[in-house]
Symmetry: C2
């Protein structure tokens, strides 16, 4: 498998999908598969470190629903995490808005206490175990735009370009570009074992990870990123 570049527009039809989905209005240069066909979505869990965690979580989810931020998304909650699938473009913007708003609402509802969110963003494998690896017409979405939350975060971030053709140089190039972008944005604090540490407003941290993930996804069909975001930590306050 070779990576797509601007010089090689897709020549195959978009991958079939058994999911219903709206017509894509992806803002990218290469219209192709819809967000649902590309499997653009996330799983997230939220961890308020308080006895009132059930009320905080349910309240935060209700706040975000009421704000209309679940529009264009499919949500399925199990006992470990919540799946959020983007059904309509702009997929990345919807996911980033949703995660940022849920964490900010949980932080507010816990009175600024310690809350951690863990999110896995994925694109390129819409199904469950098996996935169609022949998707072409990769989108090249615009960077997300998020309002500042006023909440300072520290995060741990890992980016995995999967199925990038097996060239180690390509592999590291994508990761190095993403980390350089984080530095330009001001969130790229420091490399760390197995992950990069990000700091900044919750919105900046989320945007850093989502933009890197979607931009690698313009060249690599299957890309996953994991982001652990911590707010209100006692050790954060000390540091």
């Amino acid at each position: 498998m070779t990576t797509q570049t601007d010089a090689t527009p897709p020549t195959e039809p978009t991958a079939p999908s058994d999911r219903s989905s709206s017509v894509s209005t992806t803002r990218g240069r290469r219209p192709g598969a819809t967000p649902a066909e590309l499997g653009i979505g996330m799983r997230f869990s939220i961890h308020p470190h308080t006895d009132a965690f059930v009320d905080v979580i349910l309240g935060a989810l209700a706040d975000v629903e009421e704000a209309g931020l679940a529009h264009g998304l499919v949500l399925e909650t199990d006992e470990v995490s919540t799946y959020v699938g983007a059904q309509e473009a702009p997929a990345e913007q919807r996911l980033a808005d949703y995660l940022t708003a849920v964490l900010a609402a949980a932080s507010r509802r816990s009175g600024g206490g310690h809350v951690v969110a863990h999110a896995l963003f994925s694109r390129g494998c819409p199904g469950e175990l098996a996935c169609d690896l022949s998707v072409t017409g990769l989108p090249d979405p615009a960077p997300v735009e998020l309002e500042a939350t006023g909440i300072a975060a520290a995060a741990q971030w890992s980016l995995y370009p999967l199925l990038d053709g097996g060239d180690p140089d390509d592999h590291m190039t994508h990761i190095e570009e993403a980390i350089a972008a984080a530095h330009r944005r001001g969130t790229g604090a420091s490399p760390n074992h197995y992950a990069t540490k990000l700091t900044g407003d919750v919105s900046e941290v989320v945007a850093t990870a989502v933009d890197a993930w979607s931009q690698v996804g313009a060249h690599v069909p299957h890309v996953v990123t994991h982001l652990t975001i911590s707010v209100g930590s006692p050790s954060q306050a000390e540091g």
Copy 2:
């Protein structure tokens, strides 16, 4: 890059490392790089959903230290997570013992309350941003052996064979084998979007993920797995 198989023993020297490390006693068939040279380790965070989270976390870490389970490991805690690097074989056994014991101790100290652990296990990139991708002499460690904790867990598990030669068939083969092994063990509950759901004793869930990660690591130089383990969840009790 081609994947290593038993038929093609390594012909290059092990990768250099600037870290001190003991002589490897890896139980694998192919002695080669030490755990530290291979970068075998994890980052983990633990989330007790209680007002007493600081005492629960510090107490659990102290319990595990007192039990001697930090031996052969290097620990570095920052404001988001703790890095645990294996310096001595059996690396996978030490990491699995440590994570299982910390989560069990946190569960006990929170009176069986809701505690979530998130762990990222990595091998093949010992450094920070850059990593030496020419490591050869991949170990093929024995499965880990963990005592049952008596604590039921539900988990979300993702396995990423990175740098597997870029062959999509290889890529999925490794993942399918790992999921089949989880089913044989009895923890492989169900596929889910972007992750596999595991259920069982904390020790069984940890062993499923660690064994899959180390066994793919016998063929693919760089392998990462993410595991989110939930115990004492109200929704778990309902389900």
